[in-house]
């Protein structure tokens, strides 16, 4: 649906993206993550045609953006960084501006205001909106022309927990009911994890990973949390036996492991060394830890 092939981009002499290849499958919610300055927003701006790549090709629905800009953009709804709104105009007037350009029905304004939950603020000036309401209006603008691709850069910013929950359901429903493909970037990785079906991780202008969420989680080994009677002695025993335990907190140790057998071996070692083991808990990797692990690995390498 969205594909970037060996795309590179520089600002002057500063290389921002190097040979970025990315493929966002149809009807997926693709989480695009990376630390600040990694190239997320630049990638999104390239996909939206706001900037042009030095090399490489960008295709949306099979159409080359460089040669079919108008057709491609008519299929995309986007919200990049903060919503671009005119504060002295009402929500309705802000939407009317886009409606006239897309040539959609008058009723589309009420439709998107209803679906984003701000219909009651239709006649209210945007300067009186809270940050969360502005964000909702930004999303309403992106959805006005019923796009088949939705690109959202940090859309959760400014939403309260209830709003985030609603937003998650809203996006899932968009994919389910309307078959929309969503590219979503956010630094709140725990929020991405609950929405996305696919993920891409970018760091220092290079794609470090792309695939399904499960494939991403497989990238990182689990951890074992162990509650013991004597943490310092336990650290010493484990270190002598080639394990690398993290600094203990209270009576708990955290230990990277590769499989179930490790848990049994660690338990046996500690018991043999006269350390009582109260609890052994496997810790499942979440997107946040996988992400940091991937980035950390890149830095180390």
């Amino acid at each position: 649906m969205i594909s970037l092939e060996r795309v590179s981009f520089s600002y002057g002499k500063q290389k921002i993206l190097t040979d970025v290849s990315l493929s966002v499958p149809e009807r997926s919610i693709f989480g695009f993550a990376g630390p600040n300055g990694a190239g997320k927003t630049t990638t999104i701006k390239l996909i939206l045609g706001l900037i042009t790549p030095d090399t490489g090709t960008i295709r949306l629905s099979g159409l080359d953006l460089a040669h079919h800009r108008k057709e491609v953009l008519s299929r995309i709804g986007s919200l990049v960084e903060t919503p671009s709104l005119y504060p002295h105009l009402t929500a309705e007037e802000n939407l009317e501006i886009s409606r006239r350009i897309y040539g959609t029905e008058k009723s589309s304004i009420d439709r998107v205001l209803t679906s984003t939950g701000i219909l009651s603020a239709k006649k209210k000036k945007v300067k009186e909106f809270s940050l969360g309401m502005k964000q909702r209006l930004g999303i309403a603008l992106a959805l006005l022309h019923s796009p088949s691709i939705l690109i959202l850069d940090e859309p959760i910013n400014g939403l309260d927990p209830e709003g985030i929950q609603e937003f998650r359901e809203f996006l899932k429903n968009l994919v389910k009911a309307d078959g929309v493909t969503i590219l979503l970037s956010s630094h709140i990785l725990s929020e991405l994890e609950q929405i996305i079906t696919h993920a891409g991780i970018i760091s220092a202008g290079k794609i470090r990973f792309q695939g399904t969420l499960d494939e991403l989680k497989l990238k990182q080994n689990g951890k074992l949390l162990i509650q013991v009677s004597d943490p310092e002695k336990a650290v010493s025993i484990l270190t002598e036996n080639g394990y690398i335990p993290e600094k203990p907190e209270n009576n708990w140790l955290s230990l990277p492991v590769t499989g179930q057998q490790d848990a049994a071996d660690v338990n046996a070692l500690l018991v043999a060394g006269s350390v009582s083991v109260y609890q052994l808990k496997p810790e499942q990797p979440n997107l946040e830890s996988v992400f940091f692990d991937l980035i950390q690995r890149e830095v180390t390498e």
């Binding site: 919503p83 105009l89 501006i97 350009i101 040539g103």
Partner: protein, 247 residues
């Protein structure tokens, strides 16, 4: 064409409840009011044989052309672009499925539309103001026969020759995101016009073109008009061809 008209209509929506729109009425009103007060203050009337309507409208056009119009133009044009600079509007506009050149043309057209509108107001207010001045001043008898064609031609010339200043303000307002740059350009341009009048080729100074297009002697009026229109069109076209902005 339909898409361009839609874009221009969206620019009109953006101007709702803005100072730019109010200025279309306020700026000509101030000039007409000022000239009417000057005439009403002359207790003995004009005191010499003159075509009162042409004299009255000439004075108004002079104040308008040399001072009020350049300032009004710089403010209105700056505001038309400023709403995009401050609200990240360019980013949104350029993701719309419209040709990029059309976006700029719609901005230029909508800003020019405001100038045309203000010129119409000025023309209408000149007639209304002249009539009221004659009505209230016992010694000033404005003739019933108003030289509408001559007055209209002069207004059109002033507007046409102002195209160069309008284009400069467009380019500056688009290129720089800070409102102070176009406003500063407008003030500086108007201020230096005072000095340019004494220079041999001063009549070609962009901020003096509108005045010279009506009152220039020895063919300077035609030259000023041609330079104003062609210079303006050149800058506006170059702006669209070499799109580059700093925001």
């Amino acid at each position: 064409m339909k898409l361009l008209l839609s874009l221009i209509s969206t620019e009109m929506i953006k101007l709702r409840r803005t100072l730019a729109l109010w200025m279309v009425v306020i700026a000509p009103s101030i000039v007409v009011l000022l000239q009417s007060l000057i005439m009403l203050n002359q207790k003995e009337g004009i005191g010499y044989d003159a075509d009162l309507w042409l004299m009255y409208s000439t004075n108004i056009l002079s104040i308008w052309g040399i001072f009020m119009f350049p300032m009004f133009c710089c403010l209105v044009v700056a505001l038309v672009y400023h709403y995009e600079h401050v609200n990240g509007g360019w980013q949104r506009i350029y993701t719309l499925p419209v040709p990029e050149w059309m976006i700029l043309v719609s901005k230029q057209a909508s800003a020019f539309y405001l100038l045309v509108l203000s010129s119409f107001f000025l023309f209408g207010l000149t007639i209304a103001g002249g009539w009221l001045t004659g009505y209230f001043h016992p010694a000033i008898d404005m003739p019933d026969d108003i030289p509408v064609a001559e007055m209209a031609l002069r207004s059109v010339k002033v507007l046409g020759a102002s195209l160069f200043v309008f284009a400069i303000q467009n380019w500056v307002s688009y290129r720089w995101s800070s409102l102070s740059v176009p406003i500063g350009t407008g003030i500086a341009g108007t201020f230096f016009a005072l000095f340019a009048t004494g220079w041999k080729y001063g009549y070609l100074y962009p901020w003096l073109l509108s005045l010279n297009s009506v009152f220039g002697n020895d063919g300077r009026d035609v030259t000023a008009l041609i330079v104003g229109i062609s210079g303006g069109l050149f800058v506006l076209l170059a702006m669209v061809v070499f799109r580059k902005r700093n925001s």
